[in-house]
Amino acid sequence: MSAAQIAPRRSRGLFSTIGAYLPHPTRWRHVFGYMVAVYRREWIGSVFSGFIEPLVVLAGLGIGLGVLVGDRAAEITGGVSYVTYIAPALMASQAMQFGAGEAAWPILGRIMWVRIYHAMVATPLKPTDIIVGAILFMGGKVAFAAAFFAGVLLVAGIATSPLGALAMIGVSTLTGLAFAAPVTAFSVTQKTDQGFAIIFRLIITPLTFFSGTYFPIESLPGWAQLLSWCTPLAHGVALARGLALGTEIPNAATHVAVLAAWTIGGTVIASILFRRRMLK
């Protein structure tokens, strides 16, 4: 073998670099389809367990705490019963829990334990296609579960307008995505699942209490309010509640924009980090 002249690798142009991170227009569908096939058997079960739990909470808190709060409820809720007040917020907060959970173990597992992502990046799929397909699937799952929840609210008479209920499903889905995307970005950097305990105990669970779910955000100190508005859940709760009660939602467009920003930002960062992890 002759001593070859070693050509230095040409660096990619800017377009090519961006292109590497852009999803293929249709290939993410195959990833979505894969996830559907995996979850087809347990689909109903996971959706029920995901949303029956908040229904129990709703019954317990709404009826129990409602009685305790009693007449004072009207002061904070603006006239509606406590159950009516917290139901849409619970729907949004459950979407958060569900979205974040789907982005944690299932993603890390496919990198570390099942290792199927290693096989998938060896197909024409780009890492970004995998991330986009996986996150959209999480959105689909949240939407499905939220629809079930919305149905219960309609039947129970808590939500009064079917159109409003439909919009609530949309808001919940967006809220779920706004957590699923950044949690995915976190998951793809992990080597064990220990980091998830921190995410869930220190961020996800406390957020339920500081995002206006059980009491208005306005009763928090100023700095805490500001912090809450930086996270997605407060926006999801504000939108869902307004839609359920049929009241006017101030700054609705801003709420949607914040949720969308978390979703898109999280997806972009997740794609970059996942690509780095898989293509070494």
């Binding site: 073998m1 001593a3 070859a4 002249q5 070693i6 050509a7 230095p8 690798r9 040409r10 990619r12 090519s16 293929h24 290939r27 195959h30 990833v31 389809g33 894969y34 096939a37 995996v38 099942v114 290792r115 199927i116 290693h118 096989a119 998938m120 990046v121 060896a122 197909t123 024409p124 799929l125 780009k126 898989m278 293509l279 070494k280």
Partner: protein, 314 residues
């Protein structure tokens, strides 16, 4: 036939192919060609750079320097197109345990954008070919190691790849499962699929490969057909002498002249020679008292030993 001057088209062509991870050079300026229809091997110990080379070919590890062409394309810019025509089997299992055997094939085919109907037909053929038809509807989890490996290979063929890449395909399999797999790979090769494999098993390389390169410490140290390599780098027979108490006290003078050459390992002395029996007689004359001895024909193991001064399993 001299394979290295054959005119068959090179499907994979590497020149000065290099990969570094920080300070560590995993693959150091290697050159090789894989030709259409051949069974090509990378033989070497763990850590020699075989897997990294495979990853670069599959376009999942960007090279640091050098040129690499697969089907005339550059994996840096044409990754998806190249990967569409490759089948890759990883060293570690990458099957989805929650899907059935057949579903693993069906889903995987979709990643290549193949139509469902076509995938279904191909999946059934592949299950047949790899003797998995009766397990088609079973979950993956309870399958034996050999079956999982066959399923991995079947899955990697769902896109009818031009080149099948196998990274240590029989590591961890029992002898019977290995032979079953070897048979399946031979059938596949006869049907025209080009196969590239890495292995640290000499017998595997000898059995399967038309041509191979021997890798050690990130470099290619030899290239040729198994027979060529043995003829060039090893003597006809090998005498192995075993000294459980160690070989360090045996003097060079005692070992000289027993055979054509010798290699001293921790507990063995390997002597390359024309005639093993005669060499054994000479060894006794030289005053050696091995606990046991054996004579065998030279193999790739001896080629590796000769080229690197180490045995593969050290």
């Amino acid at each position: 036939m001299n394979l290295s001057t054959s005119n068959a088209t090179a499907l994979i062509r590497a020149r000065g192919l290099t990969k570094t991870f920080g300070e560590r050079t995993a693959v150091d300026a290697i050159n090789f060609d894989v030709r259409d229809g051949e069974f090509f091997g990378f033989l070497g110990p763990n850590g020699a750079g075989k897997t990294t080379t495979m990853r670069m070919i599959a376009g999942v590890s960007p090279r640091t320097a050098g040129t690499l062409e697969i089907f005339g394309n550059d994996p840096d810019t044409d990754g998806p197109r190249i990967r569409g025509q490759l089948g890759v089997v990883h060293q570690q299992e990458t099957l989805d345990q929650e899907l059935t055997v057949r579903e693993n094939l069906l889903i995987f085919g979709r990643f290549f954008g193949i139509e469902r109907k076509e995938i279904a037909e191909r999946a059934d053929q592949l299950l047949e070919l790899f003797q998995l038809s009766d397990r088609a509807k079973d979950q993956v989890e309870p399958l034996s190691g050999g079956m999982k490996r066959r399923l991995s290979i079947a899955r990697s063929l769902i896109n009818a790849p031009r080149v099948l890449m196998l990274d240590e395909p029989t590591t961890g399999l029992d002898p019977q499962a290995r032979h079953l797999l070897w048979d399946a790979l031979q059938r596949l090769k006869r049907s025209g699929t080009t196969i590239v494999l890495t292995t640290h098993y000499m017998d595997e390389a000898e059995q399967l490969c038309d041509r191979l390169v021997v890798m050690d410490q990130a470099k290619i140290v030899a290239e040729g057909s198994p027979r060529q390599l043995i003829e060039e780098h090893a003597s006809r027979e090998v005498l192995e002498l075993r000294f459980p108490e160690g070989t360090s006290r045996i003097s060079k003078e005692t070992l000289d002249g027993i055979g054509d050459r010798y290699e001293r390992l921790a507990e063995r002395v390997i002597i390359g020679c024309e005639n093993g029996e005669a060499a054994h007689a000479r060894a006794l004359e030289h005053g050696l008292t091995p606990e046991s001895w054996l004579v065998r024909r030279s193999g790739l193991e001896d080629v590796f030993l000769r080229l690197t001064g180490r045995s593969l399993d050290e």
